[in-house]
Amino acid sequence: MKLNIEGLLVYFPYDYIYPEQYSYMLELKRTLDARGHGVLEMPSGTGKTISLLSLIVAYQKASPLEVTKLIYCSRTVPEIEKVVEELRKLMEYYSKQTGESNNFMALALSSRKNLCIHPEVSALRFGKEVDGKCHTLTASYIRAQRHSDPDVPVCRFYEDFDAVGRQVPLPAGIYNLDDLKDFGRRKGWCPYYLARYSLLHANIVVYSYHYLLDPKIADLVSKELAKKSVVVFDEAHNIDNVCIDSMSVNITRRTLDRCQGNVDTLHNAIQKIKETDAEKLKMEYRRLVEGLKEANVARETDVYLANPVLPDEILKEAVPGTIRTAEHFVGFLKRFLEYLKSRLRVHHVVQESTPQFLKDIFDKVCIDRKPLRFCSERLQSLLRTLEIADIADFSAVTLISNFATLVSTYSQGFTIIIEPFEDRTPTIANPVLHFSCMDPSIAIKPVFQRFQSVIITSGTLSPLDIYPRILDFRPVTMASFTMTLARTCLCPLIVGRGNDQVALSSKFETREDFAVIRNYGNLLLEMSAIVPDGIVAFFTSYVYMENIVASWYEQGILENIQRNKLIFIETPDAAETSMALEKYQEACENGRGAILLSVARGKVSEGIDFVHHFGRAVIMFGVPYVYTQSRILKARLEYLRDQFQIRENDFLTFDAMRHAAQCVGRVIRGKTDYGIMIFADKRYARADKRGKLPRWIQEHINDGSLNLTVDETVQLSKHFLRQMAQPFRQEDQLGLSLLTLEQLESEEMLKKISQIAHQT
């Protein structure tokens, strides 16, 4: 269907459209028009991806000079593949409608592990191994060595790509990971490097968050992407945690030991190179005396995305004299390392700010702030000069040098916590230095600064206004869209009491209470009797789940449940979990029905969809608060309070509710789907918790569904299920929640649509 969105012709590859999709595109267009950033929340299963793609592609076609590129960031490889498939559908529709062949280029990018076609390298199991091996075959000096000695092994795919691949651009089309591999095999070119090279002139790039947010990777891959790009972060409800993780550093005793090994290797390599090829070191030295001017020019002319690990001051100055020569630098690293080792020998927990750390390090080992700041850059230069083949081996020293740079660059937003042992095992010494980032805006700042429009979108972003605050940006549009429904296909219920009137809660005081555990068991038992097919139950943590399941077993509740359905359990082990999931789905297919016990914040709660009969009910046992005793979290809460005026409790509730919403959102994956969402904790009934759920769930919680007992819940669920079991055809939806073009263009509908978007 061809849509007219405020004067923009949008090709939409389906015959019908949901009203909220239209509304979403409207908001999106306004954001792009304003060249600003946006925060948009739309329920899962209402076609967010295709709305985004068709609008932005149309925008690109209409004004190719204004928006040159779409960078679509998603979280997992399957999600990336899904986006590419949608895009392929859209492009086919385009060429069918316009009759001309497609000149659009879109590609997905993933790690070497997913893209390598070298027979030996691709057989390796871990991503790091693949990267390291690839590096030993493709590094520039290895290839230079081959000129003199043809026995040195290199990757023939990379060689071929390097010889001819760069002259001929990748032909237009849509490439997912497999397409890239096929193309690479046909031409004999390395798909990974081909994809990385083609990023620059592709119209659409689909890849993972880390390629933009992790400074180390972004520097390699994304730094030359055009300014006039639109960046979309899909499923972005956890984006602050991704940002924080990408900037934080954890140093253990093992890291330091490996680092010591690295430093010794460096020392030996320098000695060796001095005997054989002293000229090389001298060349490097001369370059460093001149300063890092090259990088500076590039940044000034705005060619590159800024790198938060490489602060601006560095680029303007030359490397300080203290670490200019290679030996001095290695000595410097040794001192730094010994200092860290001495810090790790503490017997009690230490928490300090970065200025305190800097002062201490100067007093103890006379290390100034300035050389620390240059540490990361200096190490890179040395590794290049020494021609070290396997960079993966040097991850420890790289980590330490990154830490040095960060700690000396940022006086705020970071904290250093040294813990001599883990909280759970106070007798086993296992010292860890956490250098933890508390401000997610540091990592994402370059993205907001560089790109013209950044869209943050997900099914659950409520409350919307907290994201701009913690990420520190000014959005031009913030909107939350509801789901228009022909029938109420979701049924959120808040269970507050058991049949014996005992208040249900996972709060700390009643966590061990048998009455609560028994009532939770009864709830699951009763639901397993009336709900067809699959039920997913979420607990707040693995420990809590273990406790509860153990006592259910003792009380014989498990046995009773098993009469109705099979039970599967998620564990921290990824392989076991995927096995459990597979069997769970099999049981649902067979009609036997199954229950999956899993954990909020776990793998199941984030990425697995339970469409239709795979999930007819979801039960959230308790409020999934994060472990509040962790020192890192405490420091972060304090920081949020001082810097952003967000109170501890507000943030904790927000965090718990977004995870709860993620969990219960797993069952509704479309408008024909239906499911019961049970919040089994009386605290959900409070306004401050309820108000933080996404609007599309909140709408359906009325006063009648608050603080129910188990019996009432069962009654309501029965009623709901009976209603939902009636045949539901597409015609029933038409005109209400599914529109044809004519219906969409009617005056009345347009008025209705304008109310869908809930501006904040």
Binding site: V319, G321, S342, K359, V365, D642, Q645
Partner: protein, 297 residues
């Protein structure tokens, strides 16, 4: 067996446990047990680092840095400062690794003699970077203290407000004629209002990061004169607009030429605001006259 205490060692290379040091050098100095060299107690130190060479290097470095204490502003350019830093590094590494010790020591002494005044002067001065760190630490301390106080005050205030509210309810229940349920309901509303008020106050508190002069607190103020920017003096040039039409009569001439005869005279209220009928008339004439001639190519 005596409890093991941390090893102490004297530079270079004599190792004793802490108890032995206390025992052997009761008087502050004594001879080495093995080689009879005189040693001092105060020269024994606890080893801080795993690698003894690092301990030694840090020791030497501290000594060297006391002499080589030039700051970056003592040099005309950054390049020279960096060269100087590298020389210092060389001195330190020579002394630690026992390379050419004699010459290096001589070099140090010579430097010390040449720069005596500067060394004395710089002793009290911190480098700019250290200054910054100190400043940050100070700020942090102040901030923490202030926050603690604010938090205390806030809590106090909230507690008081709540107590007052409760007392008011009790009083009312005692004296008022209204039914108790109504009073309770009123009280509930009031309590909620109080909560929201406190909430809003909390939101309103903003940290200050600026001095009253608008200078960022975290910035070190440079005392250098601001760079002089040479600019050309502005010269007024009258605007000439090409209207492509006959010349428009001046504003002042309009009434004399009779244009105003056909325009509504300005009311007294209008003139008070600075309006005259000539203004509107002049605009209308400008409009009418412009664009009448063909474009000149």
């Amino acid at each position: 067996m005596p409890k093991l205490s941390p090893l102490k060692r004297m530079f270079p290379g004599v190792w004793r446990c802490e108890n032995c040091v206390e025992m052997l050098f009761v008087r502050g100095s004594g001879n080495c047990v093995q080689c009879e060299t005189p040693l001092r107690k105060s020269n024994f130190r606890v080893q801080l680092f795993e690698d003894p060479t690092v301990d030694k290097e840090v020791e030497i470095r501290k000594k060297v840095l006391k002499i080589y204490n030039k700051r970056d502003f003592d040099f005309p350019s950054l390049r020279e400062y960096n060269d100087y830093l590298e020389r210092v590094e060389d001195v330190v590494s020579n002394l630690t690794n026992n390379i050419d010790v004699e010459n290096t020591k001589l070099q140090m002494e010579q430097y010390q003699r040449e720069n005596r005044d500067l060394i004395q002067k710089n002793k009290v001065k911190l480098t700019r970077e250290q200054e910054e760190v100190e400043e940050l630490l100070l700020l942090e301390k102040q901030g923490n203290e202030q926050r603690r106080l604010e938090l205390l005050q806030e809590e106090q205030r909230q507690l008081q407000a709540k107590r007052k509210n409760k007392q008011a309810l009790l009083d009312e229940l005692e004296h008022s004629q209204l039914p108790a349920t109504m009073l309770l309901a009123q009280h509930k509303v009031r309590a909620a209002k109080l909560e929201t008020q406190i909430e809003q106050q909390k939101q309103a508190v903003k940290p200050t990061s600026l001095f009253s002069t608008g200078i960022n607190m975290r910035q070190t103020v440079s005392l250098q004169p601001p760079p002089r920017i040479e600019e050309v003096l502005y010269q007024y040039k009258p605007v000439h607009v090409e209207t492509y039409g006959p010349p428009v009569p001046e504003l002042e001439l309009l009434s004399r030429l009779g244009y105003l005869n056909h325009v509504r005279a300005a009311m007294p209220q209008d003139t008070a605001g600075g309006y005259t009928s000539a203004l509107a008339c002049h605009r209308a004439i400008q409009d009418a006259f412009s664009g009448l001639f063909p474009l000149k190519r």
